[in-house]
Assembly symmetry: C3
Homo-oligomer: 127 residues x 3
């Protein structure tokens, strides 16, 4: 499961970096805590971080289940597509939130493959 662990660490460091971008945007656009609105570009950074959190709670269990019941190296590979997808999502969302579709698809599809694959493998291992 080392490859799975390494991809989880990568995904969490990326998520942490997105959080640093939110902090930087607070200063740059003068949005003081606890406010989470007040400047449209700040709100984009905030939503990218938030949406990444919303996916992370699926991503981590999904890659662990897939890695454990199917194959860890394949799980890590699919998980890496998610990390790339998140970078595309960040770039697109900051430029124009309406363009976030591709990056979102490239992050949610790998998660669904991992989650549904892992779930089916868990069911099959019961039979």
């Amino acid at each position: 499961m080392e490859y799975v662990a390494i991809v989880i660490v990568l995904a969490l460091l990326q998520y942490f970096a997105f959080g640093l971008l939110v902090g930087r945007a607070r200063g740059k656009f003068n949005v003081h805590a606890p406010a989470i609105t007040g400047h449209p570009v700040f709100e984009r950074y905030y939503r990218v971080h938030q949406n990444t959190l919303e996916l992370m709670i699926m991503f981590i269990p999904a890659i662990v289940l897939f890695g454990y019941w199917i194959r860890p190296d394949m799980g890590a590979g699919i998980g890496f597509v998610y990390v790339i997808g998140r970078f595309i999502y960040l770039r697109a969302y900051i430029g124009d939130p309406a363009q976030r579709g591709l990056g979102f698809a490239l992050s949610i599809l790998p998660i669904l493959v991992l989650l549904i694959g892992g779930g089916i493998a868990a069911i099959l291992s019961l039979l």
Copy 2:
């Protein structure tokens, strides 16, 4: 731990479906990203998804700890009550947020049983 894994996958697919409802509500009530306010019914869908995320971070570790240190089949059964509780929460909250009490209780109580049970079992296994 197969039963625990299957209930985790179910709970995450339910959470994913709640996220799809938020996306649909964005279109229906004309609330464009990155906004998360603007129409009261959209805000209800958003908060249901958000509250489910807030619980999921407790639910997944709790069911794993309970399943590992006590019994996986019992953990999966208690976890299934959480999934039912979340459906009741969704229906009540969308109708009238003030009616969310029962659904919330049926989702948080199973989590607390899993978490505190798993924690006590971990402490006992040290003795």
Copy 3:
């Protein structure tokens, strides 16, 4: 891994208590669901809970990876610093959000040590 499990349960119960404070602040400052704004002190409680959720998704995988690939007792000790750091964060943020720096540092630094330490140990175990 019992010590790691016990610290995870502690951190999640603390997070749950922060959620109860948000619920109490809803009543006290008359902010009805689904609203998440409307009174500055309510917003502070809300953001403390939210920020703790944002960190928890890193904390739990990080302490598990560190405990598994390095040492569980050391991981639990570093994780306990995180729990203390969160209490300091809560107290500072409620008083004045601008003073949240120390509490935030004492919660994010233990997480980064656990996460990066665990990631490096996973890489080394491949060699």
